[in-house]
């Protein structure tokens, strides 16, 4: 069975490789918008479904895996920062507080479509201004939702989390494994 990962994220690719899967990468353009006002869980589910359906057009016989991740703080979505200033502002808002990371996952194979989401709570310690400045200067925040990468130096800022760690990296591995099992693919 051919597997296609409908995502260009290097972190998702690494995670799938960790599981020992062989797959093709075909990033979805992801130009769909989710309907507004449906909340974070339904939003990432809808966006991951749209990505999976888009790539499915190109690989109709393959098993498609798509995901979409958002950072949700104080009832608002934090996207990828557009400038270093915006990154610093996001990190300041996360400092000493708890936020949520939602990832929606869609798996399509044959006539089966599974679409689910996972939420992980992330708690940052209080950050000093100089720490935020130094982290922004490292460049790490710039291509990441919420302006941090938990698998990088942001590990120094995350005091604790509740839920699936890999979900924060962009792919909830335990849930994905169970979804694949339900579709007939055992990877353990």
């Amino acid at each position: 069975m051919d597997i296609v990962l409908a995502s260009g994220s290097p972190r998702r690719r690494e995670l799938l490789e960790t599981l020992g899967l062989t797959f093709t990468v075909c990033p979805a353009k992801g130009e769909e918008n989710a309907p507004s006002g449906i909340g974070p869980a339904k939003t990432v589910e809808a966006l991951s479904l749209a990505k999976a359906q888009e790539v499915r057009q190109l690989y109709p016989d393959s098993l498609i895996i798509a995901a979409d991740t958002i950072v949700w703080a104080d009832g608002e979505m934090l996207g990828k920062p557009k400038t270093p200033e915006e990154a610093a502002k996001m990190l300041t808002s996360l400092s000493g507080a708890e936020h949520e990371v939602y990832t929606g996952v869609t798996v399509i194979y044959g006539d089966k479509t599974l679409c689910q989401s996972e939420c992980t709570k992330v708690c940052f310690r209080e950050l000093e201004e100089s720490e935020i400045a130094s982290y922004v200067e490292s460049g790490e925040p710039m291509d990441k939702a919420g302006a941090y990468g938990i698998q990088g130096k942001a590990a120094l800022m995350v005091r604790r989390l509740e839920g699936d760690y890999f979900n924060v990296m962009g792919l909830p591995l335990c849930r994905l494994g169970q979804m694949l099992k339900a579709i007939g693919v055992k990877i353990l």
Copy 2:
């Protein structure tokens, strides 16, 4: 300032490298035993302290970082399995249940010694016998306390955790960063 990691664990080495630190690796023999009956937190603290003090003899002018990790399930310590059968038995006991991972960390530099520990709760989903057999066969459990490595295929078995993910890998990065800061080393 020279930094020495008093541990042979490749996972701890990788984590320290992630933080951008340059350091020498000098594994402690760790032949000390902790006093019995002091509970998991004090046990890993005592063992990490003994490792740090051992390596300090060889590098008296360096900053020493040592750590010790144990898996604690149902009031008992799970060490590294000695046989595949023992690994399967440990994984069966962890299946569908919650356990704790404790890591003690000691930092010594000059006349300062800091010794702390961190606890992370880990919750496994229900595992099928065939999944346990397949995971044991992969060889991954054999050099790991509790018979699993969360950064490998065991990601498929961990439904959720509460606390620091990196603590489960063997080094609580957020706490270590704060300890280093207290000793005058800023890495962020």
